[in-house]
Symmetry: C2
DNA sequence: TGATGTGAACTCCTTCACAGCG
DNA sequence: CGCTGTGAAGGAGTTCACATCA
């Protein structure tokens, strides 16, 4: 490991982020959205393997573990620069460092969750956030019964306090887990508080200024997409009964075909 | 694939929704993934508007509400067929029906949630599933302390019972909310039980036979993508001081930057 | 007239295939 | 030789702009 000749690329520790700014800017700008999403996946795989003392991984291995093909993986990694060794593969530690730097994970983050219902409560207590460098530091709701209680040590406050509290805690990411109505208001408060990244679980399309980034997770939509595939598959499997052409299918409902495996 | 001569013309009268099966099959196969995801969004908007007795909507209005541009919306809807009226717009009820049929929502669905931790518990109690036609009918875990308790009236069973219970309840969609390790085992059990659609919240890439559809929701990845955008934006905003090392920036305060392209 | 529906151009992403290097 | 890195080809999705029709 650390078989790195030409000592231009310094070791990456989270105190200093070297590299000249214009180049980094250019590179960051150039990375496709689709690649960014996958970088996060590669990082998780690498962190898993890092424990195993695996010093190096080929594109084939890493790609398989991440569920993509190796050409795509190599192209993705090429956006970061050349951190592989031909004939060998990628140094796990170096790659981890590069991906973390690219994803901005060397920066401190701080997450606020708004809406402490079923989902918000689960998110507030979800260990997966903190363990990946996204500690939840503030919780908000409107329900008087919830305000003041603590979840995982964090006190729930009224959403009126969003501007002050978020600024004070330097919240970088807001998570909206409220019902659909009210989500836009909460969003406006977060934006006012200077939060520029929002993860939205509410089933509405948020309107935000263009300098604010929103990602949406819509569980019902996910299920509906799956539902589409069930339906498509059933159509595809359905035997082509020649007589079905002329028959009057009452198709308010889909044909009831279910094939047991 | 089966070259079907355009023999039967689909009559469109407003009461019934006819359509011959091969044509429906052809169409379903042709709809792009990206469009399917958006259809679900359009549907939600339409259902919201349906209550308001709005009989008709233009592509412009619907597109705005769904957060896309109108050209995209029209192209998306064109995959369903021609259900708009030129000079007027789309009939809300007809469109709802068409989208529901296309997404397979006229079929009965039944959801099993596996892994009753923070997230699984929230999902089990989440009203948004049932209200959109995806009732949760089975819950599973391995923890003896959880087995037997009821959430929203559903009893938690041991995952050993997945094959039997899922078959008996005709589960169409499995939701995996377990920790990463164990997710693959659970997945295998679901597949064995005949479940062909899986929504995976566990941070692993599941291996499944090709007739099984998996969608993954990875919350940490979502946050990391947002993090990337924070970083990119800071790079873009940062004045070109060659040696700025960003960690100590007083980021409590928002620079008022709004870049006009 | 005014909105839909759609070929065509365009942009973005993926895949191929192989040169280049360790 | 083996594997990375990458131009080039291919495919998917988006946007444009306008013919078309209620």
């Amino acid at each position: 490991m650390t078989a790195q000749p030409e000592g231009v690329e310094p070791r990456v520790d989270q105190a200093a982020v070297p590299v000249d700014v214009p180049a980094a800017r250019e590179r960051a700008r150039a990375i496709p959205e689709a690649t960014v999403a996958r970088l996060a996946v590669y990082l998780r795989v690498l962190l898993g393997r890092g424990d195993d003392r695996v010093a190096t991984l080929s594109s084939e291995e890493l790609a398989h573990a991440a569920g993509v093909n190796s050409a795509k993986l190599r192209k993705d990694l090429s956006y970061l620069g050349s951190y592989g060794t031909r004939g060998v593969g990628y140094d796990v530690d170096i790659l981890i460092g590069e991906i973390e730097r690219t994803l901005g994970l060397t920066r401190k983050h701080s997450v606020a969750v708004v809406g402490i219902g079923n989902l918000g409560h689960a998110l507030a207590g979800y260990g997966g956030f903190a363990s990946r460098g996204f500690p939840v530091t503030a919780l908000f709701d409107v329900d008087e019964d919830l305000i003041g209680i603590r979840i995982a040590g964090i006190e729930v406050r009224h959403i009126d306090q969003i501007p002050d509290a978020c600024a004070a805690l330097d919240v970088t990411i807001g998570v909206i887990a409220t019902p659909g109505d009210g989500a836009q208001d909460v969003c406006d408060l977060l934006v006012k508080a200077g939060v520029r990244c929002i993860l939205n679980f509410a089933p509405v399309v948020l309107q935000v200024p263009e300098h604010v980034e929103v990602r949406k997770v819509d569980l019902a939509v996910e299920l509906q997409i799956l539902s589409f595939h069930v339906a498509r598959r059933e159509l595809a499997e359905e035997p082509l009964t020649g007589s079905s052409i002329g028959t009057e299918e009452p198709l308010t409902e889909l044909p009831p075909v279910v094939v047991a495996p």
